[in-house]
Symmetry: C2
Subunit: 240 residues, 2 copies
């Protein structure tokens, strides 16, 4: 591989399955699905099973499994857990399978299933994801989940961070599309004000209004986990 080509997609509705062929997909939904996923796996959950609908989530549940997720940012009625990383503690999730359904993040994972490899990244584990993508020796498509089919700045910021780390770790030259170059510049411009940038974004403001500032703080830390959630069949597991 003389160069690594990286494309960045701005929101789920821009993603067609064909774009993922023979690629490593890196799915990003900083607020909050992919932050919650890595937090849960780091806390010892055995796997995360992304489900597109509430009904599908309930159908997948086996005895001992936990149901997690949100609709309109809030916990789904009858579910064990919402979509706040802080709920996914060792005490609540260690050793458990978690069926997770969220508005954008799990849809994004399903969109990318034709990729050779699917990783999920957040600010919390962007560096580890970049290193894993380098080792997989494929071109990369980074999918920013966004919110309601619109670009979300926290996902763009994380895409820029992944690109920054890919450039640092990749032994060959990293070539990116124009949107990727823009996201890298966004990250470099805002790297000292990540939390503030997220708080000023559309999703950040919405969560703030709902009293979920702690979630934004939990999702804003950079590279605190070395875990790389990776899709095996229908399950995301730690480091594949």
């Amino acid at each position: 591989m003389p160069t690594m080509q990286v494309q960045v997609i701005s929101s789920v509705n821009e993603a067609s399955s064909a774009r993922f062929h023979h690629k490593t997909a890196v799915i990003i939904d900083v607020l909050r699905a992919t932050s919650t996923i890595v937090t849960a796996l780091a806390a010892g959950a055995s796997c995360i099973i992304p489900a597109e609908t509430v009904m599908e989530a309930r159908a997948l549940q086996r005895p001992g499994d936990l149901l997690g997720g949100e609709r309109f940012c809030r916990k789904i009625v009858g579910f064990d857990l919402g979509n706040s990383p802080e709920e996914y503690t060792e005490r609540s999730v260690a050793g458990k399978r978690i069926i997770l359904t969220t508005t954008n993040g799990t849809r994004a994972i399903h969109k990318s299933m034709r990729a050779d490899h699917v990783l999920t990244a957040s600010l919390l584990n962007a560096g580890a994801c970049a290193r894993a993508a380098v080792e997989l020796r494929r071109d990369v498509v980074i999918l920013c989940a966004g919110s309601h089919d619109e670009f979300a700045i926290e996902d763009g910021l994380c895409a820029g961070l992944v690109l920054d780390r890919l450039q640092a770790h990749c032994p060959v030259s990293v070539e990116m599309d124009d949107f990727g170059a823009a996201m890298l510049a966004l990250y470099r411009n805002q790297s000292d004000a990540v939390k503030e940038t997220i708080l000023n974004g559309m999703t950040g403001k919405k969560l703030l209004k709902l009293g979920m500032k702690k979630d934004i703080e939990a999702c804003s830390a950079i590279d605190i986990y070395q875990d790389v959630p990776r899709l095996n069949g229908d399950q995301l597991t730690r480091n594949g």
Copy 2:
């Protein structure tokens, strides 16, 4: 108007007519339509008439009018002028009507026709466009034309520059969507390397390969014109 709301659209195929209702539209196609348009008007062309197709351009031509434009970056057979700003000199265009058809830029102008006001911006006249938009006292939609339905970094950079100038000139607070905030950060990160950023972009590389480096240089200068091309009926004229 307690705040000015600004939305930024990443490429023509993201633009639905409904988004322009009651707004001022600012159309950007740095390489090269909107750079050429302001250059032609500054050189004394009486107006620019954007046409979507070559056939439409020919049908609109009256005696004395010039036909300008490109397909696949090159001058159209039988046309008087291509899409290089440098062809639009006082000597060639003063006093003339120009019918212009380009791949992305003129399509973008047609998409925005439901707006209350339509301005075209480039790096060459971004500051003047921002001041004009402030005076028009409407919320703003900035449409980055892009290239082949993809985001183009030079258009994003120019959107960021327009936002930077809006913030400087607007007496009320400028609120932007997440994509706008990202473009502003892109511009601020790359403001010392505008030409290099454009040369590394997809369209920049294509024009370079075609031997059109001079065009990129002509389109990279910042705020050298005070002219604001503005749509009146089907004609773009200088300062409305």
